[in-house]
Amino acid sequence: MSKRVCERCNTGAAILRLISVKENTEKVEYLCANCARAEGVEIVVGGKEAAQVSGSGETEEVEKGSREDSVMCPSCRLTFARFKERYRLGCAECFDAFRPLLIPLLKKVHGAERHRGKRFARLADEDITSGTPRGTWMLELLKRRLQAAVEREEFEEAARLRDRIEAISKESNVERTAE
C-alpha cells in the first residue's frame, strides 16, 4: 500500500485531510502533521476520525461543540450530548466529568456557581444506628421481595433476603425486650 505524501511539503506522510471553506468554496488538501500544525490544526493522539478543520470561525465552533458532546462520564457512561438532549445528569460523578461545561450552564440558570446553603454532614457512626428501629415497612418490603425471589427461583437472592429478615426481626425483638 503506497502512502500518500503531504501536498504542501511533498515530503512528509499525509496523515489528515484538511477541508477549508473560504467564500463558499471548499478546498481539500492532504497534509502531514507538521504542515497541519502550521495551519493551526490541533492533533489529538488517539483520535479515530480524520480531523476535518478549516480556517473559518464557524466550523471551528462546530468542532468545539462535537468535542464537548463526546465527553463521557467514566462512571455511568453518560455523554454530554445525551445530557443536552434530556437535561438530566446520570450520577454524582457526572458533575466532575462535565464540570467545566456545567458551570456556565449553572450560572445561566441560577446566576451563581457556588453553593451557600446547608452543608451535608454525615452522622457519627455510633449515631447512625441509634434510636429504636420501629418501622415495620422494611420487613414487609423484604418479605414481599423474598416471595418474589422464590417465585423467580432466584435462591441465592432468597437466602440473602431471608438472612436480612432474620437479622432485623431479631434486632427489633431484642429492643422490645429491653424496653
Partner: protein, 359 residues
Amino acid sequence: MTLDALVRQTPMWLDGSGAYADVIVSSRVRLARNLRHIPFSSQNKTADEERVVDEVLSAAQHVRDLNQSTYFDMKQLEEHDRQLLVERHLISPALALRGGNGGVMVDQDERLSVMVNEEDHLRLQALTAGFEPQAAWQMLDKVDTELCGRLDIAYDADLGYLTACPTNVGTGLRASILIHLPGLVLVQTVDQVLNGIAQVGLTVRGFYGEGTEVVGSLFQISNQITLGKSEPEILETLERVVRQIIDFEYSARQTLLRDARAQIEDKIWRSLGILANARVLSGQEFMNLASAVRLGVSTGVLKDPSLVLLNELLVRVQPSHIQRMAGSRLDSDQRDQNRAEYVRERFASASTTSRQTRG
C-alpha cells in the same frame, strides 16, 4: 395506615389554619437528595433502584419523625391509587407514571413525605397549612439532617447537593405556596402581577406543580433558583414577594366589593346554590364554583361553609378519591354524579351544624 384510612382523613395541611388562611391554602417545602454511589434514575437499573429503597428505608427506621410512617410501594398500587396519592399532593405525577421501584413514606398526618426513586433518589417534603414556609422548612431541615446524615449523600463542596436536573443543584430546595387569587383573576390583573416575579427568581405553577394547569384561581408560587443562596434567603425572597401578592389580592377584593358588590355577592351565592343542589358536577365545575364560595367565606359574605370543609373537598372530590370511596370502577359520568352527591351531603350537614350552633 391503609389507603382506605388515608382517604377518610383530612390531611393536616388542609385544616384551614396558619397565617393568611383566607388567601393561602398551604405551604410546601421539598428537598432533592441523591446517594453518591448509585446512578441517578435516568441511568440506573432495577437492581440500583432496589438498593436505593433498601438504604433509604433502613436509615429511616432510625429517624423518629419517619419510623411510624407508612411506605407505599408504587409496584403494589393500582394506577388509580397512585393517582390518589397525587391528588393528596403526597407524590408527584411523575412518580405515579414512572412506577418501577418507586415509593413514598407518608407520616400519620401527611405533613411529611419522602419519595424514593423519583427523578432524584430522595425527595423529602413537608406540608403545612397557611403561609408557613419557615415552619415547613424547620420541620424538613431536621428530618433531612437525621435521614440523610445516615446516608452517603452526593454532595460537592462547591456545588452543594447534586441532583439529576441542573435546576435543583445547590440546596435542592423548592418552596411552593398554594395561593387563592380570585380577586386578581376577576379584576384581570393576575397576569400582570405574576409576570413580574420571574425577575426575582420565582415562578408560577399549576395546582399539582410543574407543568400542570391553574384551576379554580389556585396558583403555586415557588422559587426557581436553588444555587448561590442559603435556604433562609430563598424563603425570605419568596415570603416577601408572596406578601406583596397577598396585598394586591386584598385590594382587588376590596375594589370588587366596593364597585360591584351586588354582582360579586350574586356570583358567590349562585355558586353556593349550585354546589349545594347540583346532581351532576364535573371536577372543573366544582373547582370554579368552590373558588367563588371560598371567596365568599374569606370576605365574610358567607358564614358557611368553613374553609376546612372547602379544603377537604378540594382533595376528596377528585377522580381517584371519588372512585376509591365508591369502591368500584366508575366512568366519568358516574363520577360526576357521585361528586355532586358527596358535595351536597357535606354542605347539608355543615349548614345543619351551624344552624344548631347559632340556634
